[in-house]
């Protein structure tokens, strides 16, 4: 974990509500795909946690959906503006379990962390399949970017306006060695229930601090209590305990 000042290098819409922001600065605290940063925004008391989508030597890319005051404020930021960020938060995905042909499953703003993960898995010489889920055609983003990396991509939309009609679970391939998943909780539950074999799933919780100090983000797992911000956000399928 590191407290850094990052500079907005680029900030543009990908869809009506989803934005792509590139930030420049010290990003050495990040060690794994699936980690997140916690952004301090002027006038908002709590920081905003956002996943890493891509990482360069001195840059980090994030993709965020405008859902409230904080993200609306981010959408209005211009290149050159500065943002305070706690970087290198969370455990991230463990690539050692990927096997020969890993599957990545992302839904909505759960798609971004799959991008860096795909890059890292491809760099290990593994063929990567990606299933990306959205509500409708107008909300689809990053399909081309995943293809450009060399992934086999399937897109599913809930209303059938693009790609496979239905949820990511309606578009899962027959064969894969292991899966990695990020998305809204109903999707995580569906994937947990229906996807064959083992995998790792990334969770979201409302956070007070993002670095383990407040116990705001705790959850029960088979292997004990965990803080989603520190021992998570990524949990192994085998340790997940659904609370209801």
């Amino acid at each position: 974990m590191k407290d850094c000042i990052l500079t907005v290098a680029e900030n543009r819409p990908l869809t009506k509500e989803v934005y792509h922001m590139a930030l420049r600065g010290d990003v050495r605290a990040f060690t794994a795909p699936g980690q997140f940063l916690n952004l301090k925004l002027e006038g908002q008391f709590l920081r905003r946690p956002i996943s890493v989508c891509d990482l360069g030597e001195d840059s980090v890319t994030i993709i965020y959906k405008v859902v409230g005051r904080g993200t609306a404020q981010m959408a209005a930021m211009l290149p050159g503006e500065k943002l305070r960020a706690l970087t290198g938060l969370g455990n991230g995905y463990d690539l050692t379990d990927a096997g020969e042909a890993p599957l990545l499953i992302g839904g909505g703003v759960g798609v971004p962390p799959m991008y860096l993960l795909a890059k890292r898995l491809l760099a290990l010489g593994k063929p990567v399949q990606a299933v990306l889920g959205f509500n409708r055609a107008s909300e689809v983003f990053y399909e081309e970017e995943f293809r450009a990396l060399g992934c086999a991509v399937t897109v599913a939309t809930a209303d059938g306006s693009y790609g496979v009609r239905g949820f990511v679970t309606d578009a899962l391939p027959e064969t894969y060695s292991y899966y990695y998943c990020c998305g809204p909780e109903p999707m995580l539950r569906a994937v947990y229930r229906t996807a064959k074999g083992s995998g790792q799933l990334s969770f979201e919780k409302r956070m007070g601090c993002g670095f383990g100090a407040c116990m705001g983000c705790s959850c029960k797992t088979i292997t004990g209590y965990k803080r989603i911000c520190r021992e998570g956000p990524v949990l192994r399928k085998e340790e997940i305990l659904w609370e209801d």
Binding site: F45, L46, R206, C214, M215
Partner: protein, 303 residues
């Protein structure tokens, strides 16, 4: 003694800045970021006799200039705190630490405090009486002067370390509770704990917190906290630790003028993990600007 040092119940603090319970864990997350020995001390996460998971999530909601929490005293229980947390803490923190204790009956408070009293690392017992009394119809100990006094007596009977009673602001007359605790033998008081509040999610039209209500803290509560520190410190002669919304060196000075001997800082650590270190670093310049020679001289200066 330096210009920042103060005496808290017979133990000297290098400075009056104390991270508040629940916002600093058991210290290591912060020790990764800076040398936490710069702190006066810190109050560790509220500890109970038995381990607790706490409340369901969401446990956190944002508010104007603050936050709500309904963590519900998640902690590993006093035995694990003594066998695991304190030995780990010893490696990174070399000063007496403040042990924050919660309970659901006077006997439970006493048992937990008795165990912590034997630990050399513990400098003070900070007894949080904001919890519901299971034998008193679920009303918090801190809302009834007699119930609060009964906790003080139970704890004082089994401990030698200074006992600081942490008061809840969710009462009509906080000075009355403070006086009852002083009469029962408390060595000091700390206040305020969080103010009861809630938020709704406009999309779902339901409370954001799974627990429905939670405790408000952060800059939003500062004037309420300051008022209560003022009232309580006028009503008692034991030291008062002030807290609630403190986020700058000038807030620390204002709390001390209102009557605080030392100052705890909670929520500010969550949004800026360096908050306490920054405030300690800023204090000397702020004192110079205000013509303050030694901090210990200004305690209650605003009365």
């Amino acid at each position: 003694m330096g210009r920042l040092s103060v005496d808290l119940c017979g133990v000297t603090l290098d400075n009056p800045v104390i991270p508040a319970s629940g916002a600093f864990g058991y210290g290591y997350e912060f020790a990764e970021l800076y040398d936490i020995n710069c702190l006066g001390t810190f109050s560790f996460k509220g500890t109970t006799l038995l381990p607790r998971f706490g409340n369901p999530t969401p446990r956190i909601a944002e508010t104007p200039a603050g936050m709500l929490n309904s963590v519900g005293l998640q902690n590993p229980g006093v035995e694990k705190v003594i066998s695991e947390e304190l030995p780990k803490l010893k490696k990174v923190f070399h000063k007496p630490v403040m042990a924050n204790v919660s309970g659901f009956s006077a006997e439970e408070y006493a048992k937990t405090c008795e165990l912590l009293d034997q630990e050399e690392q513990v400098g003070w017992l900070e007894v949080n009486v904001s919890c519901p009394n299971v034998h008193g119809g679920g009303m918090s100990f801190g809302t009834d002067p007699q119930a609060a006094a009964s906790v003080v007596r139970a704890v004082k009977a089994v401990t030698k370390k200074p006992v600081i009673l942490k008061l809840t602001p969710n009462v009509t007359d906080i000075a009355a509770v403070a006086v009852a605790c002083e009469e029962a033998g408390a060595d000091g008081l700390s206040l305020i704990n969080t103010l009861l509040g809630m938020r709704l999610d406009l999309r779902t039209r339901k409370p954001i917190l799974a627990n429905v209500m939670g405790g408000l803290s952060g800059p939003a509560v500062f004037p309420v906290a300051l008022r209560m520190v003022y009232q309580v410190s006028k009503a008692v002669s034991i030291p008062v630790v002030g807290m609630g919304g403190v986020s700058s060196a000038s807030d620390v000075i204002e709390m001390m003028l209102a009557g605080a001997t030392a100052v705890e800082i909670g929520a500010a650590n969550l949004t800026d993990p360096f908050a306490c270190k920054r405030i300690i670093d800023e204090l000397p310049a702020e004192m110079d600007r205000l013509g303050i020679d030694r901090l210990s001289e200004i305690i209650g200066g605003g009365h």
